[in-house]
């Protein structure tokens, strides 16, 4: 018994140490990988080395204790691994050259031991370079997302797989392929030039936005939302906006995410069932977070380069956030914001949302007319959203049979089980 207890105690100590290593990794991994990439000149290699050092830490620290400067330890171990690897490769290549090479490397290694793990003057730039590399347009979107969560967010492959409900091997493959693609294309480790920055930043922000969306409204599975993933996106948005403080879109994205996240507590009831905007208890919204969101939007506006898609969406979210009720919402203003959004970023989803706002501002008949214009374009065929909204508006117009038909059509199209339940409930109530 006593022995069992001793084993249990050491196991829980080991578990605690493991959690501490993981916490340190989440805090430090971006700076470690960023610094290593600058030193070894290859992003894929740097990521491998950092991961190997992390694995060493997981094995050693629970046993030997956490070193006084964990980040320095991880960086140094990773650098040594890099040097060993190069030496081995060089030896295979040319024994003579290898000696000169490794001497130079040894010299560098000696210097590394006395250097701080990173230079505070350059590490922000390094992290920014890392973010731009992970979101490089050469990569498919899903790889950008996996790579960003892994190298910038410090998430493990298992965590990413769990968040996106895909097999671990799928995430592994995406990351391995992405690193290979970056190496093969010799993507430079740099912050894009002024001329390029806008487009490249758009790619970064889009990745953060998609991560948030996946957490906000899960596209698959039984969970209505995955707040952990949304929280991670929010953290990334805060990081990016602090690293490029002169870019209005970065603040606007942060504003949008803060404002959307402020409704999390009210979006599900005690049984985990979804609660739609109109039925949400607005007093349960996180008003500190709303204030942070509004402050970020004000910052974006203050830069004075006009409102882009994120700022317009944030402004719409702000309208909801400050409204006392659904009826007390400035729907006419929201219609106007959706019209501006449709000009900046035309999309059928924006048109559909505008139609909903039109219905709120000018009545269900006006809304239905706007929805039917959209139906005529055929742009949203196959989406559950269109019949869902149409069914709702028909119900409000008292056209019950048509309404039920549309809502049932929507249930057949959604992949989210909880959303399906809500639609079914609506159809039954008609």
């Amino acid at each position: 018994m006593a022995e069992d207890r001793a084993v249990a105690a050491s196991e829980s100590e080991a578990a605690a140490a493991r959690r501490r290593v993981e916490a340190l990794w989440r805090i430090e991994s971006a700076r470690i990988v960023a610094t290593l990439t600058r030193v070894v000149g290859d992003f894929g290699l740097a990521e491998d080395l950092a991961q190997e050092a992390f694995v060493d830490a997981l094995a050693q620290w629970p046993r030997d204790g956490v070193p006084p400067n964990p980040a320095a330890w991880l960086t140094t171990v990773a650098k040594r691994k890099g040097i060993d690897r190069r030496r081995r490769l060089a030896r295979l290549d040319d024994r003579h050259a290898a000696i000169a090479y490794s001497l130079a490397e040894q010299h560098r290694l000696a210097a590394i031991d006395h250097e701080p793990p990173w230079d505070p003057e350059t590490v922000d730039d390094d992290v920014l370079r890392l973010i731009f590399t992970a979101c490089h347009p050469i990569l498919p979107r899903e790889s950008q997302i996996a790579l960003t969560l892994r190298v910038v967010g410090g998430l493990t492959t298992e965590e990413i797989a769990r968040a996106f409900m895909v097999p671990v091997s799928t995430v592994q493959q995406r990351i391995v392929r992405a690193k290979r693609t970056i190496s093969a294309a010799a993507v430079p480790f740099e912050v894009p030039s002024r001329e390029e920055l806008g487009g490249r930043l758009a790619s970064v922000l889009q990745v953060v936005y998609l991560i948030f969306n996946e957490g906000y409204a899960a596209t698959a599975g039984s969970s209505w939302m995955r707040t952990d993933l949304a929280g991670e996106a929010l953290r990334l948005a805060r990081i990016v906006s602090s690293l490029v403080p002169d870019e209005p879109d970065a603040h606007a994205l942060r504003a949008l995410l803060e404002l959307q996240a402020s409704r999390f507590a009210a979006r599900v009831d005690a049984d985990g069932e979804p609660v739609l905007l109109a039925d949400q208890d607005r007093s349960r919204w996180d008003h500190d977070q709303i204030r942070r969101g509004r402050a970020a939007l004000a910052k974006a506006d203050a830069i004075g380069r006009g409102r882009g898609a994120y700022a317009l969406q944030a402004a719409i979210a702000e309208c909801h956030a400050v409204a006392p009720s659904t009826d007390g919402t400035d729907w006419a203003r929201i219609v106007g914001l959706y019209e501006s959004l449709a000009e900046v970023a035309p999309s059928p989803v924006v048109d559909l949302n505008r139609a909903v706002a039109v219905a709120m501002a000018h009545g269900p008949a006006a809304g239905l007319a706007a929805v039917d214009e959209l139906v005529a374009t055929g742009a949203m065929t196959g989406s559950a959203l269109l019949p869902g909204v149409r069914g709702e508006l028909l119900a409000r117009l008292g056209r019950r049979d048509e309404a039920r038909e549309e809502l049932l059509a929507a249930t057949a199209l959604t992949r989210n089980e909880r959303e399906r339940a809500v639609l079914l409930q609506k159809a039954e109530r008609i």
Binding site: A23, D124, R238, A265, S283, R284, W285, R291
Partner: protein, 142 residues
């Protein structure tokens, strides 16, 4: 999860004469900046010296207001940070990096989420309303 890092210092903290205040401010500024750049800082405030405050003592009825120094207080609450992390361990790592010296302590407390209370309670409902008023009536800071 949200955590509050509460700075506690001994009441009679004598600043050594050779302390360079610029250095202290710089260290604290760098710490705050690192929290911001890691995307974890939500709020933070420092408190003015206790002689500008006072204590309301509830031992007596009605409560008694006394100016400092406070006889019973061994430590002073001098400021706080509010951070958001995904685990308790992360909050601990951030707390450990705070540039404080011997004698000073950080107390780290998890902040309750409102959902943890009985939502049907009348005063929990009211508190939501108060928060709403406080939240939206306060001016937006740039």
């Amino acid at each position: 999860m949200k955590y509050m890092l509460i700075m506690r210092t001994p009441e009679m903290v004598e600043m050594p004469e050779d302390v360079d205040f610029t250095e202290v401010i710089n260290a604290m500024g760098a710490y705050n900046e690192s929290l911001i750049k890691a995307g974890v800082l939500l709020a933070g405030e420092g408190l003015a010296p206790p002689d500008e405050g006072f204590v309301v003592d509830f031992d007596a009825t009605p409560p008694v207001v006394t100016d400092g120094p406070y006889a019973e207080a061994k430590e002073l609450f001098n400021g706080f940070w509010m951070i958001q992390t995904s685990t308790k361990e992360e909050a601990a790592e951030w707390a450990k990096r705070c540039p404080l010296g011997p004698g000073m302590r950080l107390e780290v407390r998890r902040v309750n989420e409102t959902e943890e209370f009985d939502q049907d309670n009348e005063y929990v409902q009211k508190e939501h309303e108060w928060r709403e008023q406080l939240g939206t009536d306060r001016p937006v800071q740039g």
